[in-house]
């Protein structure tokens, strides 16, 4: 496959990093809950989702390393890039907060992830379509689970509704970025590599509105959305994630583990 280069970036590589980094960062965030969730069953369930995302990271970043042709493995890409090299959404790097905040973040992302992967199964790039086909099976379950939990906790007690509403208001401003195509997205869409984000949007809206309604939660009315710049710009949180995640690889350069 010949590389499509836009603004000095290999489109395919850029796209793979965007998919992989979302999985990597969110999988990492979820793993922080291990042993600290409200109930043993949730320890197990959240570890499952985290494991799926770590596995998907290996697929996306593994292919990214191949495409890049610099001999980088998925681990090299995960553990040796600095924050500016990461392409994940700001949403997924947000702190876990309360369990409700973690689940709300999961739901808002899962809904995007699911509809994205469903369409990516028809990507013009066969390798990408294959990964999507595998990942969508797992993400179907992720979305079912987070949908169910958002409804149960929203429509639970007055206290739980307040927790969930607060989480929604806190996270909502980060949802805009998921549909805000930049010039690289536009080129990837034009090439058939990825679906048009404008096509995913209505599905996401429908799912999110239905679930939030069942959860008795209100979409923030005059919701302002974070105006996000380049995908290389992050919130303060990513640096700390990487400080943890990359500690051993950075402290013992070249060692194998």
């Amino acid at each position: 496959m010949t590389a499509i280069v836009v603004e000095g970036c290999d489109l395919r590589l850029e796209f793979l990093l965007r998919m992989g980094d979302n999985c990597l960062v969110l999988g990492h965030r979820l793993s922080e809950w291990c042993g600290h969730t409200p109930v043993l069953e949730e320890d197990i369930a959240i570890a499952n989702v985290s494991l799926d995302l770590v596995g998907q990271t290996q697929l996306w970043l593994g292919l990214a390393g191949e495409v890049e042709e610099k001999g980088h493995s998925a681990d090299n890409l995960a553990y040796l890039r600095d924050a500016g090299g990461f392409r994940n959404f700001l949403l997924v790097e947000q702190p876990n907060g309360s369990y409700g905040q973690t689940l709300m973040r999961q739901f808002l992302f899962d809904a995007w992830h699911y509809f994205m992967l469903r369409r990516l199964e028809h990507s013009s790039d066969k390798r990408i379509a294959e990964i999507a086909e595998k990942a969508v099976k797992e993400v179907t379950y992720h979305l079912e689970r987070s949908t169910d939990l958002v409804i149960r906790l929203g429509d639970g007690t007055p206290e739980s509704r307040a927790f969930m509403q607060e989480a929604l208001e806190m996270l909502w401003p980060y949802t805009g970025q998921m549909f805000d195509a930049d010039s690289l997205d536009d080129a990837a869409i034009a090439s058939g590599l990825m679906p048009d984000l404008a096509d995913i949007r209505p599905d996401w809206d429908t799912q999110v509105n239905r679930v939030l309604k069942a959860a008795t939660l209100q979409v923030p009315k005059e919701a302002w959305l974070h105006k996000v710049g380049a995908r290389s710009v992050h919130t303060e949180h990513l640096g700390y994630i990487l400080a943890d995640m990359q500690f051993l690889q950075r402290s013992y350069p070249g060692a194998t583990w």
Binding site: H36, T37, D43, A47, S50, L51, D75, T157, S160, D244
Partner: protein
Amino acid sequence: MYAQMVKTDADRVKSLDEMEPVERAFQQRIDAGEKIEPKEWMPEGYRKTLVRQISQHAHSEVVGQLPEGNWITRAPTLERKAILLAKVQDEAGHGLYLYCAAETLGVSRDDLYEQLLAGRAKYSSIFNYPTLTWADIGAIGWLVDGAAIMNQVQLQKTSYGPYSRAMIRICKEESFHQRQGYEIMSVLASGTEEQKAMAQDALDRWWWPSLMMFGPNDADSAHSAESMKWKIKRESNDELRQRFVDRTVQQAETIGLTVPDPDLKWNEERGHYDFGPIDWDEFWNVVKGNGPCNRDRMKARREAHENGRWVREAAAAHAAKKAARKTAA
């Protein structure tokens, strides 16, 4: 072990002649190697001992998530992270099966868990030690899961059916954990000088606490006799500890690590390794709550429980609403 200090109520073991007919019949079934099932008659002491042992074991699995969980976010590769996540997830699963087994004895998981949080129930002393480096994750899998297997293999033959079946399931996963831990250690031991030092340091710190996992010496183990008579326990603390030492010393040699015991010596006559005295003061201190991490571990569990209260209440409230809507419809 995961249940190191299980008290029984008897000062001494009754003989068959001294028993009431129903108790004698029960003991005869045990002696014949039959399994006891939940709805069947059992002496109150048998039931209580089992509840203590199974719940201590369950609590150990749950608290045991914490020291290893401490390194999940810092695991050095994606594969190591996935393996560690899956391992800690298995331990949570073990906790669940064991609470279920305990519940067949007429106690509730919530009550048992409250006892743990209130500091009235014990869990294995080993989880009160800190995980300071990545090598500790290898050492835990290798030594702690390795010691757990020694105990749990014999518990597969324990007389209480649900406990025995839980153990059969759990043992398969524990031996997987043990191999993964040993593999981490062998990679480190054959790595850079720094990695090798890390591996040796972890072995130095985890060796003695691992031997303590088997509980006091048989001579000081007042409650073992009754558990043995009921076949709740099938082998003594010292037998299990010896088997663990014999196996582990060779594994350490294979990867070029040194067991931190100057008295360790192969005894041709016994066919076992002799090993040095265990610091029982340290053991009792940790059991009594004064280990390096007892307070941290309990604080983490209490915080998780307290912070999760609204989530559990909401789930219950939602289920009630849903049921009410169904009835109304």
